[in-house]
Point group: C2
């Protein structure tokens, strides 16, 4: 069974397509669902493509009135260290990315935001995952209660955008979704990008 997203009608490079020949689910774990497919590369070569099926995720850039940002520090087991990153989480079944963003912001940080802008999609690992992360900017923040999952232990860190850029440029912030958000923050700061505050709290 082909579990990948359906092909888009506006694909700009159909001549690069790698048609699927066959394949199977080879590891059905808690988080990881690994598929191993055989496909035909555009040069006619038979190739093996391994990937994990992912439900998608949403990430939030919480921006306070004073211009400061809210980040999280969390242990990231595969890399055996903690990372400074923007809040994020996987889409639950039936959720829109905006609903996920609003739920995760509440659950992980305790904050609600009244004004939301979509920044853009980000594909963290196009070579071996179907994951897409929808990135949102959130402001007009008010503090309530957190509701973290078991095993989810998080330090909250508030800092200025200038300090955040220093951490990125010195390699101390290196998480992909957080760097993608840093692009939009840099463009907003230089006056080249205006967020569209068209979304609001939906839950």
């Amino acid at each position: 069974m082909d579990v990948r997203p359906p092909k888009a009608g506006n694909e700009p490079a159909p001549h690069l397509d790698e048609p699927r020949s066959s394949g199977a689910l080879v590891y059905d774990g808690r988080l990881l669902k690994i598929y191993r497919d055989e496909a035909i590369a555009p040069d006619g070569v038979q190739c093996v493509r391994e990937f994990t099926l992912h439900p998608g995720a949403a990430a939030i850039v919480p921006l306070f009135e004073d211009g400061s940002l809210l980040l999280e520090r969390q242990w990231r087991y595969p890399l055996n260290r903690s990372f400074l990153e923007f809040p994020a989480g996987k889409l639950d079944p039936g959720e829109t990315p905006l609903q996920t963003a609003q739920r995760e912001l509440r659950e992980e940080t305790g904050y609600r935001a009244n004004r939301w802008a979509e920044l853009g999609p980000m594909h963290p690992v196009i070579s071996y995952s179907t994951e897409v992360i929808h990135i949102f900017l959130a402001t007009d923040l008010s503090l309530g209660e957190t509701a973290r999952d078991e095993g989810e232990v998080i330090d909250l860190v508030r800092m200025s955008v200038a300090d955040f850029f220093v951490l990125v440029e010195s390699g101390q912030v290196s998480d992909a979704k957080t760097l993608a958000a840093a692009f939009w923050l840099a463009r907003i700061r230089s006056g080249d990008y205006r967020p569209q505050w068209t979304l609001s709290e939906s839950v």
Copy 2:
């Protein structure tokens, strides 16, 4: 066996550590090496951590004298579509990230660069992979021969930085390493970041 990177001496949040209890290699594929570990979260909860072991990678931002960029369009099987992205590739055994960057730029695009600057590290998927991508800026480019792998079919696309930003801001460029590079390009363009051209062709 713990296959993760060793713990760093300068870890800023040792209280968030998730000590490993046990684990095993559960899928040994061509690209993906999936480990399933049990660990203890900081709140004492036993948890399962699944991840793939990755050798690391290097990505290159090729910048021409006229200020234009070189990107690639490639089919990305898991997402069933093509992506516009900067050249990149996995580290071969014994290679430094700079050597990988210089080899991949030659093999995939045919270009050599005489001046190199390291931009920074990027961790594409801190929740389920050990992968790190080292991002380099490369200039003083001269064209030679490509040497692509079998099954590696690539369209080369040259564009201005302004056009590249339009594609990112409209969601048409969404690959993580390419967005991370876009952060540095935005900061260079706004005059806030100066690349350190300290590296040269080493091979």
